[in-house]
Each structure stands twice: as C-alpha cells, then as structure tokens.
C-alpha cells in the first residue's frame, strides 16, 4: 500500500506551532540564565565553601546527573504536591529545567575552577583581594572561558531535553505537535516537521552561543 504524505495538513495549525516554539525558546532562555547562575553559586560553594556545604552541593549534583530528567519532572510536578507544594505545569517545567541545568553547570564550572593555576589565586590574595573578589574577578572569568564550549553543548542538550515537559502538559513545541496530530491524524508529518524545527533551533542556538562566546568570553 502507499501512503501519501500531506504536509499541507499542518497549515491550519501554524499558530499552535508558533506558540509552542515561543514557549520552548522562553523556557530554554530563562532556564539557561537561571541555571548557570545556580551552577556558578554551586561550583563556588563546591570549591571554596565549608565542607558541609560542599558536600551538600555534591549530593545535589550527583542525584540530578544520575536520574532521568522526566523522573525529576514527574517528582516535582506530581510528587511535591503531596507535601503541600502545588505547582502549575509551567512553573514545574521551569523549576525542573533550572534544577537540571544547575546541576550540570555546577559540575562543568567546577572543572573550570579546578583548572585555574593555584598561583593566580595566590597572586590575587597577595594584592589584598578578598576570596570573594578573587573568585569574581580572577577565577570565574577564566573558568568560564575554559569551559564555555562544554557549557554551550549542555545548553543545547537541555533545550532538546525540554521536549519532555509536554508530558505534564506544559505548552511547549512538542505539546503543540501532540495536539495537532491528535486533531489531523497526520502523526508522521507533524513529528517530522517539528523535528526539523528543533533541528533548526539547535543549529541557531549553537550559532548564537558561539557569537556570544566570541564577543564576551574570550581570553586574550
């Protein structure tokens, strides 16, 4: 038998796709910014904090890195309300993304901090800078330059992983795809087109991150 592909069956739904795409972009952008902030704090605490805090951060990082994102999402969305913490789909999606990227970026940034020669820290301290000033002006700047490529790929991975938030009905691009194929019964066409949109998105995101890197993160 032959099956005729009908991509035009998607046209009436272009607005749903556009809204879904917008949600995915905002979700990725916000969780990137907040997630890296969490990662910066986490890595600083891990490298320079007291032992109890460093240990706590380590547990957080290992727990997240060794469990699937979808389980983290379900735990936050379905599990936490049992403790009286009720979250909307959208809030749960944002929190899960931040928690996830926060853990990965903690690990990545920490590796960057570890790679800074100890002499640079001593030089900063000898110039009467406090540990916090040394961290801010000397260590983090260099650490970011070192780990920027690794962090960039992690951001793309997290963006692609965000497709899973559709499973708690957060209205992202994949959610739109599911909705459309339930209406027009053109699953292959819908998923194929949406897969291509994701592909474009990841190519654009990589390009954008490279631009930002060249402009702001380079070391002389």
């Amino acid at each position: 038998m032959t099956y005729h592909l009908e991509f035009s069956a998607l046209l009436p739904y272009w607005q749903d796709l556009a809204w879904g795409l917008w949600f995915t972009i905002v979700l990725t952008a916000v969780s990137t910014v907040v997630g890296i902030a969490v990662g910066t704090l986490g890595a600083s605490a891990r490298s320079f904090g007291p032992p109890w805090l460093s240990g706590l951060v380590r547990v957080y990082v290992e727990l997240i890195r060794n469990t699937p994102f979808i389980v983290q999402l379900f735990f936050i969305f379905f599990g936490l309300p049992a403790l009286g913490l009720k979250l909307s789909e959208t809030t749960a999606a944002f929190i899960a993304m931040v928690v996830n990227l926060g853990a990965y970026s903690t690990e990545i940034i920490r590796a960057g901090i570890d790679a800074i020669p100890k002499g640079h820290i001593e030089a900063g301290v000898s110039l009467a800078m406090t540990r916090l000033e040394v961290l801010r002006y000397i260590v983090l700047r260099q650490a970011f330059a070192k780990i920027y490529p690794a962090l960039s790929s992690q951001i793309v991975i997290v963006m692609l992983g965000s497709a899973v938030v559709s499973q708690i009905s957060a209205p992202d691009l994949t959610y739109a795809a599911n909705f459309i194929q339930s209406r027009n019964f053109r699953a292959f066409e819908v998923y194929f087109v949406v897969a291509l949109i994701y592909l474009m998105l990841s190519i654009l995101l990589r390009y954008l991150l490279r631009l930002i890197g060249d402009r702001f993160v380079k070391v002389g």
């Binding site: 469990t67 692609l160 899973v164 499973q167 292959f188």
Partner: protein, 216 residues
C-alpha cells in the same frame, strides 16, 4: 498507608527495572555496532561517505530523543508496518546512541598524533589496516572513560520509551502512581533505582578518566 503497599510498589518497580536494563543493553550494544561502522565512514576522508554520516549525526544529535521515538512509533506505522513499542524504542535508542558514540570516538581517533597515521601509511598499510592495527588500539584506551560515561545517558534515555507505552521503570512508576496515589513515594523510589543503576557507572567513568590523566 500500610507497609504492605510500600513493598508492593518496590517489588513492582524492581521487576520493571529489568526492562530498563534490557533496553539499555540493546541500545548500547546496537548503538556501539552502528557507531563503529559510522566511525569508519566518518573518518574515511571520502567525501561522499562523510557527508551523509555527518547529516545523520546532526539529525540525531540536533533533535529531541522524544521526537525520534515519536517518528519511529507513529511515523512508520502509517506506512503499513506495525511497530511495537519494543521495536520503536529499540531502534530509536540504538540510532540515537550510535550518533553520540560516533562523535565521542571520532574525538578519540583525532586525538591520536598525525605521525601515527603517517608512520603506518609509510609501511604500506591501507586505511582499514591503519585503523585496525594502529589507530583504534590507541584510541580505545582514551575512549573507555567517555564511553562508560555515555552509558549513563543511555540508561536515562530509556526513560523516554515510557512515553510511547514501553513498560519499563518510569512507565511502571506512572502506573503504580495511578493505582496507589502516592506520587512522592513512587517517584522518589523510581529516582533512587535509576540512581543505583547510573551512579556506579558515573563513578567508574570518572575514576578511569582520573587514572588516564595520571598515566599521561
């Protein structure tokens, strides 16, 4: 809630874990084989072999694994071929894994000094022989740590098979939650089991990496 319910939940989750492990093994071994073939194509220096390989990798690394699962599960069925969740999940995860392993291994092959290629070429070895006898044996040493590390991603990736109805650990969790209404306990246990599967591998990968750095 009674203790009984806790043990029933745990027992069912552990039972379902075998399917997570089985799917992971299929994806990892299948992905390894496909990845090795792709590695040869990708590093062959033959343009018409390299370009399609590149596109393949770009597609599987640049789209969500979830989309790939949907495409296999819903898409192929429309062409008159009945696809079970098993087949769809096994296929999608295998191809997804192969794309990542190819890239990881390519990095390892490229880390081998150019002199090794030149030396082996100068004793009249062809490309396959160079790879087989000179390059891969060296690349394998540095490939072990990241490969073990990626196996963790494969195990976590299998959780998405739950979405197309494959009953493994995550799906079992969802079903048990629907039956018992104890989401906190159920998903905490699910997470814990994944952690028990993944953490030893992560730890092992990190140790290997450390060892290698010392050896160098």
């Amino acid at each position: 809630m009674s203790d009984f319910s806790f043990w029933v939940i745990l027992k069912n989750l552990i039972w379902a874990t075998q399917w997570t492990i089985a799917l992971s093994l299929i994806a990892f071994i299948g992905g390894g084989i496909v990845g090795l073939i792709l590695l040869f194509l990708r590093t062959s220096q033959v343009k018409w072999l390299e370009v399609p390989t590149k596109l393949y990798i770009e597609f599987f690394q640049g789209t969500p694994l979830l989309m790939q699962l949907f495409l296999f599960f819903f898409g192929v069925a429309l062409f008159g071929i009945e696809v079970s969740p098993w087949t769809a999940a096994g296929l999608a995860l295998t191809l997804w894994t192969s794309a990542f392993l190819t890239e990881i291994w390519r990095g390892c092959v490229e880390a081998i000094p150019k002199g090794q290629w030149e030396a082996s070429a100068s004793v009249a070895m062809n490309y396959i022989e160079q790879m087989r006898y000179v390059i891969l044996p060296q690349a394998m040493r540095i490939a072990i740590a990241p490969t073990v590390g990626f196996s963790v991603q494969v195990i976590k990736g299998t959780a998405l098979a739950s979405i197309i109805g494959f009953v493994e650990l995550t799906k079992a969790g969802t079903m048990l939650n629907n039956a018992t209404f104890r989401p906190f306990l159920v998903y905490a246990l699910v997470a814990l089991i994944y952690f028990c599967l993944c953490f030893p591998l992560s730890w092992f990968a990190k140790r290997l990496e450390g060892k290698l750095n010392v050896a160098r």
